[in-house]
């Protein structure tokens, strides 16, 4: 673990050195989102990959100058270093959330919205909101489902908050760590056009979880069909954000490994959704006891059990 942490620190230092290595870079102040994107780690782009440019969200593929080397140049034990991860305004956060909920087909979330300014505000607070939303919605949903029963005594189920917190924060931080390690390892074998830093991956995962917040609120509705439709819908939306982000990063690799990687990403995402639905929301039972009515031909209508 110490070696891995050292490698992480070296990666940050490398990025800082690369950014600081170009003292002639023009300083462009980031005032509006429609700015010229920067080449992240100074890697050259091969000519002729127009679809990459489209996915990268830029038409200026030969812009290799680095922006002002002020970002992330503070040593990691100072407070200013961590302030660089919170260098976002309200409208930027809202734009990124909008980009995760309405994925534009063919546009890469990272290149379009993050643009070398990954923030930790979004991932952290979206996860926190999601934890409490799931816990509260699950509690409310169980309350409504069991409302009429005489033996039911309402309990706040506070334990589930800590379980939800562990699950969601572990997913939003450990899976990006594993994915980043995997991509770095593949990068050492196959030269990829697109590579992401750890913080950008954390950012994508954090913002892609946003769609689950309204989904969790709507899961209060105690209908199984509605819940599964909602889950499929949100899984498609956030899954597509993840797939469109990571497909360019593994596309140049061995076909099977690329497909396996993207498949694993989607599978883990689906597992999170299904797990939350199964654990925090009780199965909706019958809303009303259906009477057994003898039909005309004498058969008995079976009660529909969910």
């Amino acid at each position: 673990i110490a070696c891995f942490l050292m490698y992480l620190l070296a990666e940050f230092d490398d990025a800082a050195n690369l950014l600081a290595a170009n003292p002639d870079a023009t300083t462009i102040s980031i005032d509006e989102p429609a700015e010229i994107p920067k080449n992240q780690h100074g890697r050259l782009q091969e000519p002729g990959r127009e679809e990459d440019d489209e996915l990268l969200g830029t038409d200026d593929s030969d812009k290799t100058e680095l922006l002002a080397g002020q970002k992330k140049s503070a040593p990691f034990w100072t407070f200013e270093y961590y302030q660089t991860f919170f260098d976002v305004d309200t409208y930027q956060v809202l734009d990124r959330i909008k980009g995760s909920v309405f994925p534009v087909p063919g546009k890469n979330f990272v290149r379009l919205y993050i643009r070398s300014n990954p923030d930790l505000y979004g991932p952290f607070w979206i996860c926190a909101t999601l934890v409490f939303t799931i816990a509260v919605s699950g509690n409310l949903s169980n309350f409504f489902i069991h409302l009429g029963k005489p033996t039911y005594h309402y309990v706040p189920e506070f334990r589930k908050v800590s379980i939800a917190a562990t699950a969601i924060y572990a997913y939003a931080w450990l899976v990006p760590l594993a994915l980043w390690g995997f991509l770095m390892w593949r990068n050492s074998k196959v030269m990829n056009i697109v590579s992401y830093s750890f913080l950008e991956i954390v950012c994508v995962y954090g913002y892609s979880l946003f769609i689950y917040i309204p989904t969790a609120i709507l899961w209060i509705i105690p209908q199984k069909v509605v819940r599964w439709v909602l889950m499929m819908f949100s899984l498609c939306l956030s899954g597509s954000v993840l797939v469109m982000t990571f497909w360019p990063a593994v596309r140049d690799d061995n076909r099977r490994i690329a497909l396996a990687t993207v498949g694993t990403i989607v599978l883990l995402h689906a597992l999170l959704a299904v797990g939350c639905l199964a654990y925090f929301f009780d199965a909706p039972e019958l809303d009303f006891p259906a009477p057994i009515i003898p039909a005309h031909n004498g058969t008995v209508n079976k009660v529909r059990i969910q």
Partner: protein, 217 residues
């Protein structure tokens, strides 16, 4: 050392200066030395400071008194009393009951620390303990709501009592959020105010949820 025989200190050089030795008590500093005052004065001064801040929270005006003379006594008292009042709930199933005392404590203090860190990381100019102080003091309306809820629950736990509790908790939640925002919003950069206010909203929402879902055994 023969050459030094000629060196002598001339009597023309004046020697000036003041040498004073402070004797007895220094009268302008008597106000700062609180060792000699009766204990009652010491306690009453702190209590009055805490009480004044409570009044500031209940009628939030843009005064800097809450920020300037921060103290954490009020938040501690509020947190302990809120956590105590949240005990004694439905504890028939240990796993599914309400929050334990330590959980309430941790949520309030850890939540306040995280929100303060968040506002400082976003570029806020408020100091760490001032922000903790404001967030802690603004739990006062919710503590009052908890008290009212427990009193209402003594009378009964039907639908009407639930509606009353809901209205009281929602009103106090709004009051807490508005009070803390009134004190904290000015110290933030103008284009990040919403980013700072939202976690405060979430914090008080969680506390309100804990209060509202309290069910007696």
């Amino acid at each position: 050392f023969a050459g030094l025989a000629d060196v002598s200190i001339s009597e023309d050089i004046p020697v000036e200066g003041e040498i004073t030795v402070p004797v007895g008590s220094r009268s302008p500093d008597e106000d700062f030395s609180t060792l000699d005052e009766p204990v009652r004065d010491t306690i009453m001064r702190d209590l009055k400071a805490v009480g004044k801040k409570f009044v500031h929270v209940m009628y939030p005006k843009k005064s800097s008194a809450l920020l300037r003379d921060w103290d954490l006594w009020g938040p501690l008292v509020l947190c302990v009393s809120l956590a105590l009042m949240l005990q004694g709930g439905s504890a028939d199933s240990k796993d599914d009951g309400g929050p334990q005392f330590a959980e309430v404590f941790v949520i309030i203090w850890f939540g306040a620390v995280v929100i303060t860190l968040n506002s400082k990381l976003l570029g806020g100019t408020i100091s760490f303990f001032q922000s903790l102080c404001v967030l802690g003091y603004c739990v006062l309306p919710l503590t009052v709501a908890m008290l009212v809820c427990r009193l209402v629950l003594l009378a009964g736990s039907g639908t009407i009592s639930f509606v009353i509790r809901l209205i009281v908790v929602v009103a106090m939640f709004g009051w807490s959020t508005l009070a803390s925002t009134a004190f904290l919003a000015d110290s933030q950069p103008p284009n990040r105010k919403a980013l700072v206010v939202y976690p405060i909203f979430l914090f008080y929402f969680v506390i309100s949820w804990m209060i509202l879902t309290f069910t007696p055994q």
